[in-house]
Symmetry: C2
Subunit: 221 residues, 2 copies
Amino acid sequence: MRISELSRRSGVPVATIKYYLREDLLPKGAAVSTTQADYSEAHLQRLRLVRALVEVAEVPLARIRAVLAAVDNPDLDLHTVLGTAIFAMSATPESHPGDPAWDRAAEQTDALLAELDWRVTPDSPARVQLTRALAAMQALGRPATPEMLRGYASAAHQAAELDVACIDPEAPREEALLHAISLSALMEQSLSALRRLAQEDVSAARFGAAPARTGKGPGAR
Amino acid sequence: MRISELSRRSGVPVATIKYYLREDLLPKGAAVSTTQADYSEAHLQRLRLVRALVEVAEVPLARIRAVLAAVDNPDLDLHTVLGTAIFAMSATPESHPGDPAWDRAAEQTDALLAELDWRVTPDSPARVQLTRALAAMQALGRPATPEMLRGYASAAHQAAELDVACIDPEAPREEALLHAISLSALMEQSLSALRRLAQEDVSAARFGAAPARTGKGPGAR
């Protein structure tokens, strides 16, 4: 198909497609003339993935390249590519060893993961992300309790089982990974939105039935 | 205390504190001379909240002002302020009514929330955020199934109960809200990190035991 049809079928403007081509996020089409190229269904699928990663997952371009490189690397087994993708989709925050709040938080993270016995690599960015959030709670003087962390871990594992259940290891490799990667980001958004909606429901039940936006103040806007 | 001690106790650089003062994210201290001001424990607590919202929750300054305005508004009941805060902490994405994927996703959102019977306001930003993620799945040709959404909703509600359980309605109003607002953001980060760690565990169990980063390719970096 021509770039105009690729744009129509993907809903991505031609100018954006050309930008992705320049940025090597989308492979070049087959040249049919000096000014025209022909694009395949594979281009359409890749374009939809890139769009989802940029627009929905808000993954920086540099990290999208790493994800696509893993997807396209036939030497990697499925678990490795999934791990690569999950790692690439998350930045590793700065560590602050020696800071008392950070060190207490790092102990909480290690103790929780040891207790859960999850198979996670020591250098997983998510481990540092968890420590960073727990350190901020420590600094606020409201550290997370082990019971709280066990509860979140159970909710998170329940979600992760649904995430991974969406991956079809029998499907063509690239398709399985494209979907796994984008769905992981999209499900994170869904879960986050559902949690905010659930907070409103639980808060209404616990603190009164007034809908959250009937008050005065900024929320009423 | 002087600004230097405020900086030392909060771990926030003096230059950053001065920036927050200029941006009205932190109330001015009591002037003790033309060049010095005195800051209280309340300043320290507010500074820690602002820092957590900026650094950890990554809430834009303009929305932090809305959150602080709600915290400081004595006319708002606890549920209203919590709702205001949750709303202020989430941007409302653009809607695309008329787009087939969007419209199918909006139907999924409405059907799910009707089935769950959660008390959420119709204009909750999280409702649009959920629709946006579901629309992207529709566009990928991999729509979320009702079973999947029920599963995520159950995990999200489990997390939200833990979130709200952290709020002490008997505590001094400002303190309860400061903690509720920052903890909500911090718990979102914790939950997100735990989900990524759980994905690694579930993926290892399902697709092989190789740790995610032992492969070649970008993930091995």
